[in-house]
Symmetry: C2
Subunit: 225 residues, 2 copies
């Protein structure tokens, strides 16, 4: 790196942060996909890799914050660059939480795989699919600074919320009809809440992308007067 | 403000951020306390104020990020000051989520108040008490840069997790014994998960305080080699 012009080094540092965020996002996405696959296909062999991905996510969580702080401290980014670095710090938190939720789903999957399945998994595979797509699109929106994609992704959060409510009511029916289904129905309800939270984090990421590109904060549109 | 020395203005800006964080933390704490009180005392009259506090929390969420970005962009803080501002950005996210969880508890409380109570609330009041104390201590640790208090607060997260597991098992028993209790038992399980998440956010705040004071990152101690 020695001998390079400072501005080049600065650009490389920003590029480095973008790459770390993408690597972490890719891992969070893969964890979610793989844990849902394990649940749907009842294949526990997919789970150890999910755990090892979480260790990588946790390491990146620390690395990204460090890289962001370093560039703020040493290079004093301003304008778009500062918003980019701030967005990276915020998105970092969301991605780490997505990893946590994938691990929560993993724990529930372990207990669900230990017993005969509860009929179909209702709309959980569909909910997982929408949440995963939202996460993928949120990361694409971040890489490309694509406000339009970010807005369309945020709009899909309502679909996930609706699916969560439907799943909840359907599982309550199962439990009411047959008390022996309660433990596994509970596990599935908690899985659906993890998926809902993953979609929420994808929504957060999109809001940070919009802030990064436009410099306007779209969170909480209704304020007290 | 005109005519003041720049360094004074800078110190005031940092102080302003601290005050905003404390105001928001106080609101998050009050929301949690009041919504649990409404649930335990079955007093819905406490709930409208919780909603109005959330609007203030949402406004502060945006204001704090703005104030932090402004000071980073214009004053280029370094060392402790930069870690303080970064901690404020992170803590801001946690406090906003605590407000969201209080609102989730509020929604469940509304449906629980509409039906006769499910015997006692088991250990939910106790769990709420520990979570609230953790939040209060986390904010005190932030104000005073108190690493020792932060560490003791983090240690209490295990108590909350244990209570959550106990509550879960006990409510599963209720549901299994009498299917008519399922909807309210489910609501209580979700309330206990919100309280668990509030304690998690208090833990996060403590980790940022330790990072702020010591400059070391205590999150994720186990890394892949």
């Amino acid at each position: 790196m020695m001998g390079k012009r400072i501005s080049e080094h600065y650009t490389e540092q920003l590029e480095g942060i973008r790459e770390l965020v993408l690597r972490m996002g890719g891992l969070a996405e893969a964890m979610t996909r793989q844990v849902v696959q394990a649940l749907v296909q009842r294949d526990g062999s997919l789970l150890p890799e999910v755990r090892s991905m979480e260790l990588q996510v946790n390491k990146l969580h620390v690395d990204i914050d460090e890289a962001c702080l370093e560039i703020i401290a040493l290079r004093q980014p301003a304008g778009y660059d500062l918003r980019f670095v701030t967005a990276a710090i915020k998105i970092n938190t969301d991605m780490e939480r997505i990893g946590d939720h994938a691990i929560n789903i993993l724990e529930k999957t372990l207990s669900l795989l230990a017993v005969p399945p509860l009929k179909p998994l209702i709309d959980i595979p569909k909910m997982a699919e929408v949440a995963q797509e939202m996460l993928k699109d949120a990361l694409d929106a971040f890489v490309n600074g694509d406000v339009d994609l970010a807005q369309r992704t945020i709009a899909r959060d309502d679909i996930v919320d609706q699916l969560k409510d439907d799943i909840f009511l359907e599982l309550i029916d199962y439990m009411s009809a047959d008390a022996s289904t309660i433990p596994k129905a509970m596990d599935l309800i908690l899985v659906s809440r993890c998926l809902e939270r993953i979609a929420d984090h994808a929504t957060n990421i999109c809001e940070y992308v919009i802030f990064m590109v436009l410099g306007t904060d779209v969170r909480h549109r209704e304020y007290p007067s």
